[in-house]
């Protein structure tokens, strides 16, 4: 199933294959391309924002367009770029790491992807319709309920659809890890990336429904004249803020925990050492996730919840620094005395530690509810969350892509290009955001489309904008690297980095059934154990037999199209009731496909033992 055979099949066949696939490895490719597409889009929006702010009183973007730009940049990057890129890596690697042949619900996996993709496209359709959301990615009411046009309607429906897809992904990973671990793979032998996938999925499961509810309330207020946020009828705007942040704070841990897992794998592999403090790492992950649900009101310190509530949330927020600190020191201790190879993935990991620590430190500063009155809604906040999201999540995604690219595509990304990309991106990143701490402390508010000159903000903004351009160059170089690798890259062996975990025991890319025989896991870092104590090959846990595989299906795609059509109908039905027709048609398509899925038996198929014997090892 290499790309070479895929090319021979012709474009139509490949397209059909990807539209109907339920294979976790191909869905990972889809998530990567989908997330990558939105990452480029969000990146362009970021560049336009920085061009507008390159000099005082610039008129490159109008105030309204600027509002749309910041809203779409934030929304796109969080929901449509960062999370899907992480889901791509989880899909590609987690089943291999636990020795499974696929995820628990392959059909649901495909449905989750298509809902995300079409929800994201629906959200971005707003650009083409000339009506993008403009109330910030947080969509605070009553600004969001009063925002004219259909921008916020696109926001509500687009996020509702793509959020449902993400929720499915979370449930799927949870069930997979609970039921499908290979023999011997106990919970405390799972690689850290699998652990963080597991904990992240729990966060998705418990955080996303709060957003679902918030979006429903906003939708009802905007489209059906309900009164949740309408103060004249007794509504309350603060409800939106609570619901949004009950989702929104765990969301930032959804973004950061998986990359903690990625870095744990990268540090261990390239230091040729077992991860220091594995057990502490696992429990720190759980503690961060738990505390992540306890701190949402620190986004609302200036709302006026009162000193008691503010103090409780401030202390809880500061407490998160403890498990995070445990992690930082464990990574440092993993490298200590190790045989370190500074590959591109390792460079990102090394760059992550100081960058993320700065972000964590400003996080503790912001957690102080008294001082927060000064920082609130200033560029200090912007600097803080970009330090954790870019310095953490984006570095982590890039490290993960360099590390697992051979496993996903069978070719190793070019190291020289990779290292140049890293340095451009690293310097660009610090140039862009470090200065923003000071801009914020000097009083520059976030989300304003211009600033006045001669207020000591000119130079800082210029530097910041130049840094953003440097990051843009880094991004382009990464794309060039991908294209170069696809054309001329070095073919990857099964284990190009001398890895420690199960995914390196199968060929690159793995056969579509992953494991001919399920492996027997004898401890943590199972492949490493076999390399040291065995013959470097995993012992099979079962005799060679028939392998059960799920059937592909076009239904996930059709269902998602149905929901998207219904979404468009919902957006425009307040203008003209005939749009309700689109709602009914769309829901009919979606529910009809669900019914077909329920009524038609799908037992999957078996790869026979004889066929498996013919395949080379």
């Amino acid at each position: 199933m290499s790309t070479a055979t895929a090319q021979k099949r012709g474009f139509g066949a490949v397209l059909w294959d990807y539209l109907t696939t339920v294979d976790h490895k191909k869905i990972a490719h889809l998530y990567l391309f989908g997330g990558g597409f939105f990452f480029i889009l969000g990146g362009l929006e970021a560049l336009l924002i920085r061009i507008q702010l390159i000099k005082p009183e610039n008129d490159f973007l109008s105030a309204g367009l600027y509002n749309e730009m910041i809203t779409m940049h934030g929304t796109t990057m969080i929901f449509l770029a960062a999370m899907p890129l992480l889901l791509a890596l989880m899909n590609a690697i987690m089943p291999l790491q636990i020795g499974a042949r696929d995820v628990a619900f392959p059909f649901l996996n495909a449905l989750g992807f298509w809902l995300f993709m079409l929800g994201g496209l629906l959200l971005n359709l707003s650009w083409i319709m000339g009506d993008a959301p403009d109330s910030g990615w947080t969509a605070y009411t009553p600004l969001a309920t009063e925002s004219p046009g259909h921008g916020l309607d696109y926001y509500v429906l687009g996020l509702q659809i793509s959020g449902a897809g993400t929720l499915m992904g979370g449930i799927n990973f949870l069930a997979t890890i609970v039921t499908m671990r290979a023999p011997g793979m106990t919970y405390m032998r799972m690689p850290l990336f699998t652990w963080t996938t597991f904990v992240t999925s729990t966060l998705i499961l418990f955080a996303f429904p709060a957003l679902t509810v918030g979006l429903f309330l906003l939708m009802f207020d905007r489209m059906f004249d309900s009164a949740f946020f309408d103060v004249t009828l007794g509504g309350n705007s603060i409800i939106w803020q609570h619901l949004f942040w009950i989702f929104g704070h765990p969301e930032v841990y959804i973004l950061i925990l998986p990359v903690f897992g990625i870095f744990s794998e990268v540090f261990a592999t390239f230091s040729k050492k077992r991860l220091f403090g594995y057990t502490a790492m696992v429990f720190a992950t759980m503690l961060i996730a738990f505390l992540g649900f306890m701190v949402w009101a620190h986004h609302m310190f200036t709302v006026g919840l009162g000193p008691v509530a503010n103090s409780i949330f401030a202390v809880a927020t500061m407490a998160i620094a403890v498990p995070t600190g445990i992690k930082i020191f464990n990574w440092l201790a993993t490298m200590w005395g190790g045989n370190i190879t500074v590959s591109t993935a390792m460079l990102y990991a090394l760059g992550f530690i100081p960058s993320f620590t700065i972000g964590g430190m400003t996080g503790v500063m912001l957690a102080s509810s008294v001082a927060d009155y000064q920082y609130h809604d200033s560029y200090f906040v912007v600097a803080h969350f970009h330090y954790v999201i870019v310095g953490g999540t984006v570095f982590g995604i890039l490290a993960g892509l360099h590390y697992w690219w051979p496993k996903m595509f069978g070719r190793v990304l070019n190291e020289t290009l990779g290292k140049i990309t890293f340095w451009l991106f690293f310097f660009g990143f610090h140039l862009t955001f470090f200065i923003q701490h000071f801009l914020g402390l000097m009083g520059m508010p976030r989300r304003y489309w211009v600033f006045l000159k001669d207020q000591d903000l000119d130079l800082g903004n210029l530097i910041s904008s130049l840094g953003a351009l440097l990051m843009g160059v880094g991004g382009i170089l990464f794309l060039i690297n991908i294209i170069y690798t696809a054309a001329k890259g070095e073919k990857a062996s099964a284990d190009p980095f001398d890895g420690r975990t199960l995914e390196w025991a199968v060929s690159s890319p793995p056969p579509y059934y992953n494991f001919k025989q399920l492996p027997l896991v004898r401890g943590l870092d199972s492949l490493w154990i076999e390399k040291r104590e065995g013959n470097g090959k995993l012992k099979p846990a079962e005799p060679l037999g028939d392998v059960h595989m799920p059937n592909g299906s076009i239904l996930p795609f059709i269902m998602s199209v149905g929901f998207t059509i219904a979404g468009v109908g919902f957006i425009y039905q307040p203008d003209n009731r005939t749009w309700l027709l689109a709602v009914f048609i769309g829901m009919g398509i979606a529910l009809g496909s669900m019914l077909i899925r329920s009524l038609k038996d799908d037992h999957g198929y078996y790869i026979s033992k004889e066929e498996l014997e013919k395949e080379a090892d």
């Binding site: 628990a104 619900f105 649901l108 929720l167 979370g170 449930i171 799927n172 949870l174 069930a175 997979t176 609970v178 039921t179 499908m180 499961l205 418990f206 955080a207 996303f208 429904p209 709060a210 679902t212 509810v213 918030g214 429903f216 309330l217 009802f220 207020d221 059906f224 004249d225 309900s226 009164a227 949740f228 309408d230 004249t232 009828l233 007794g234 509504g235 309350n236 409800i239 609570h242 619901l243 009950i246 037999g545 028939d546 059960h548 019914l595 329920s598 009524l599 038996d601 037992h603 078996y606």
Partner: protein, 207 residues
């Protein structure tokens, strides 16, 4: 590994709903889904609690709620949960006919509940002019109770599709997990109703 999913009393495993990997996955997957649903309803309850006194000079809960009807609805739904337990009991004993019977009873009780709820909403709207748009309380009430009602509708459609599809097939390892996951979902809807009964109606009357 058997490709044959049919069952007879001799080959019947202890827990047919969890005997296959697919069945186990469905079982865990549904439990996780219910975890998410819990947060969903908790958010609706939180919203309702914040807005339940925001009646904007419109009707209050105390004025409109009639506990008699709600009591009947509660009994219908609680009983339907019990009958779905009977159905699962018979499933584990591989008694397909009795399972069908109790599931059909469950469906009728569910339809009865739904009928009462539709009447209840109709009554509020026509007799009190209490609508989704009257006040923040109205919006929160209809959203919370309506979402629960929507779950009942979905559950009933699910149950009826299952019953019709498997009417002549008997029990096997492929459909046993499906019946079981439905029953878990139905219990959950019941639990949510218990909270609605307490938080919306009892507290609306007394609190």
């Amino acid at each position: 590994m058997s490709h044959d999913h049919s069952l007879n009393p001799e080959t019947m495993p202890q827990e047919p709903e969890k005997a296959t990997l697919e069945g186990k996955n469905k079982f865990f997957g549904l439990w996780f889904f219910l975890g998410g649903e819990t947060v969903l309803f908790a958010s609706f309850f939180g919203t309702f609690l914040a807005l339940r006194n925001s009646t904007a000079n419109g009707p209050t809960g105390d004025e409109i709620f009639g506990l008699e009807l709600v009591f009947i609805m509660t009994m219908l739904l609680l009983t339907s949960s019990l009958t779905s337990v009977y159905a699962m009991y018979h499933m584990k004993n591989n008694d397909f006919k009795k399972m069908q019977l109790w599931l059909a009873v469950t469906a009728f009780l569910g339809i009865g509940f739904l009928g009462c709820e539709i009447y209840e909403f109709y009554h509020y709207i026509t007799d009190f002019g209490f609508t989704f748009r009257s006040s923040a309380f109205g919006s929160a009430f209809y959203t919370l109770v309506g979402f629960h009602g929507g779950h009942v509708v979905f559950g009933l459609s699910w149950l009826i599709a299952l019953l019709v599809r498997n009417a002549k097939r008997g029990l096997n390892l492929y459909n046993a997990p499906k019946f079981n996951t439905f029953s878990l979902y139905w219990h959950f809807i019941d639990v949510v109703w218990v909270f609605i009964f307490t938080v919306v109606y009892l507290m609306g009357k007394v609190g």
